[in-house]
Every structure is written in C-alpha cells, then in structure tokens.
C-alpha cells in the first residue's frame, strides 16, 4: 500500500474518460445522424467567425501574435504541467523510522528504531520456514502514524491459518524485543513464484 491519492486518480480517469467519450461519440453522431451533421455545420461556421473575430481583436499590436493563441498555449502548458505533477505523485508514503520516542520518554534520550531492523529480524525468522517462499516488510505512514506491513508469499497449498499463527508469534516477539507494540498488518499473496515452486514441503 502507498499514499497514492485515489480520489485524484478516479477524478482524472472520469474527466479524461468523459472527454474521450464526448469527442468520439460526437464525431460518430455527426457521421451517422443527419440532424447532428446539420447542427455541426452551422455551429462550426459560427464558431469560426467568432474565432476569427477574437483573433483579430486580441492581436498584439505590431505583430501577428494574438492573445488568444498565447492564452490557449499557456492553458495547454498549465494542463500538461498539472497532469505530470499528478503522475509524479503516484506512490510514496513509505517511511524509514518505525518507532520514534519523544526525547523525555526514556533516560537514554530519543530512540528511533529503523524499518531495516524490524525488517531484517522478521525476514530472518521467516526464512527458516520451509512453507514461506518470500517475505517483505515495509512501513507506511497512515494518518501520520507508522504502520508495519508484512507481506508474505507462501508455497502453494499452505494454510493461511498456519501462517497467521507463525507471523503473530513473530510480531509478538518483536514487540517484546522493541518494547513497543507496533501497529501492523499482514498480507498473504499468491504469485508466479508460488505457482512454480514445489507445493509440497520436502520431508527433511
């Protein structure tokens, strides 16, 4: 999970979808429906007259440049910049520190436990388990509070109940070790790797 603004995603999708639909359906209507074609011809003629007038009236003195053209260019540039900002803001929200105490909470001063510590500890413990193919630990900020996400891909046919018990035990141990109950959640995934790996555990 990340901090992607999902409302923005859906709003942009809806707006761009509406524009595509209106333009596409409009052109189809002009070709398929005589009344629409007539309307189009009259509307486009008046639109062109209006455009020509507007261009003439907004001509920048002593040049062939019109404010209309400059304005539409500026609007296009602004839209492009906004859309690229929206693209660049996808993802994010991960954080590096997992536990951060206030300076006065502890005689040792402020304590910061890095994500890497919890991640290494959990993954090292999970690696010993034959039913778990891969695991990943990340910390996301949810409403300004860190939340640990443990993501596990088990071998196919492993009972999720078993994994939940294992991980629960590990997380309790981690809480005892760090002295702080870190809000955390677990996700259990399937993937190409679990499909390709041997599904039966080897009998050792």
């Amino acid at each position: 999970m990340n901090d992607t603004n999902r409302f923005l995603n859906r709003t942009l999708l809806l707006l761009i979808g509406l524009v595509f639909f209106v333009v596409g359906a409009g052109v189809v209507a002009v070709f398929a429906w005589p009344a629409a074609a007539d309307w189009w011809s009259s509307a486009s003629t008046s639109a062109r007259t209006w455009m020509d007038n507007a261009t003439r009236q907004t001509l920048i003195a002593g040049s062939t440049l019109s404010w209309g053209a400059a304005g539409s260019l500026a609007a296009i540039a602004l839209l492009i910049v906004l859309l690229i900002i929206a693209l660049a803001r996808l993802g994010g929200g991960h954080t590096r520190s997992l536990v951060r105490t206030g300076g006065q909470d502890s005689p040792a001063g402020r304590i910061i436990i890095d994500t890497g510590f919890a991640s290494d500890a959990l993954r090292a413990s999970l690696e010993h388990r034959p039913e778990i193919l891969s695991s990943r630990v990340s910390v996301v900020n949810v409403r300004r509070a860190p939340m640990m996400h443990l993501s596990v891909t088990p071998r196919q046919n492993t009972s999720p109940g078993e994994i939940v018990d294992d991980v629960d035990h590990l997380l309790d141990s981690l809480a005892a070790l760090t002295g702080a109950e870190i809000p955390s959640y677990l996700s259990i995934h399937t993937g190409l790797r679990s499909k390709l790996a041997r599904d039966q555990r080897r009998i050792a």
Binding site: I16, G17, F20, F21, G91, V164
Partner: protein, 200 residues
Amino acid sequence: MSTSRSTSASTAFRRIIRRETHSPRSVAMASAVVLAVLALAYVGTEIVLSLFSQPGLLLSPAAAGTWLSGLPDQQPAWAIVTVSLLLALLGVVFIVLALTPGRLPKHQLTRTGRVVLVDNAVIAAALAQHVSDHTGIARDRVTVGVSGRVVDIVVTPDAGVPVSEETIRELIAAELDVYQLVRPVKTRVRTAQQREGALA
C-alpha cells in the same frame, strides 16, 4: 486518552483494509494521463509552429479548423468513424474504471485479532489441500474457486471411492472456521464423475 488512541488506530486499520482490498486505479490513471498529455502536447506544438509561421507537423491550426468545420463530408468516413468509435469506447472504459469499486480478490481474516488480508487463490489452494488430506482424493482432483461470496468445490473421486458431498462441506466449514473470514461465504460442492469410472 487510551480510547482516543485506540479509535485512531482502528480508523487507520479501516483505511488500510479499504486500500488493500480495492484497486488504486493507478495504471489506468497513468495511461489516461499519458494519452491526454500527448494529445495536449501535439496541439501545443501545432500552435507554436503556426505562431512562427512554420509548416505544421500534420495540420496547421487553420487547416485543422477548416477540416473540422467540413467534418460531415470528410473522407474516408469509415476510418474517421472507426477511430472515433475506439476513442469513445476507451472513454467508456475509463469512466467505468473510475466509477466501479474495483474490489480486489482478497479476504480479510480475523483469526488472531491482527489485520490479515489473504489472496483468494491462497485460500482456494489451502482448502483444496485440506480436502485432499482428509478424504484421500488426489490433490489434483480437487478444484476450488474462492470469490467474494462463494467457495466452489469440484471433486473428481477415483472410481469406486464413495465421497459424500456432506463430508466435504463439513471439511470446508471446519477449515474456514479456522480462518475466520470477515465476509461470510457460501459453500458449493459438486462431485464430477470420471468417464473411465462410468465405463468400468
């Protein structure tokens, strides 16, 4: 103090659960935005070229205006209509993606009080293994599909090995009881007959 803290933790978990079980639509949004940026950049380039009295890439804005005002008579009509239909369809796809919830195939487990989200395929494979372990039917003869509301089991027992659907139903119920799914599921069991078995 402690109550306000636990409510803020539970809203955080609610947010996590919501976000983990629904698609962010990031891929669709990125494709739509890239298409829109390309279209805008093209129009912008044509305007800039015409401002510097350079020939347009495809059509100068003035020529584009003329072409557009004569749109109903432009040829080849079939090509223009096809492209427009595709554009409208793409628009519909984007609109549908924007408005549908986009639920991901996952279930939430409350086995231990911790928030756990499991891919449906993991549950399906585990249920199939469980049925196979307890009935003696080979694992590859048990097919399980898990969706948001239904668990679908098809078993093909070996010829002459009687397996009651009731037994399988109980096995599944017992295993699901271990997981404690948040959303209740209905169980449907079917036994398929082997062709070879019918002949023998």
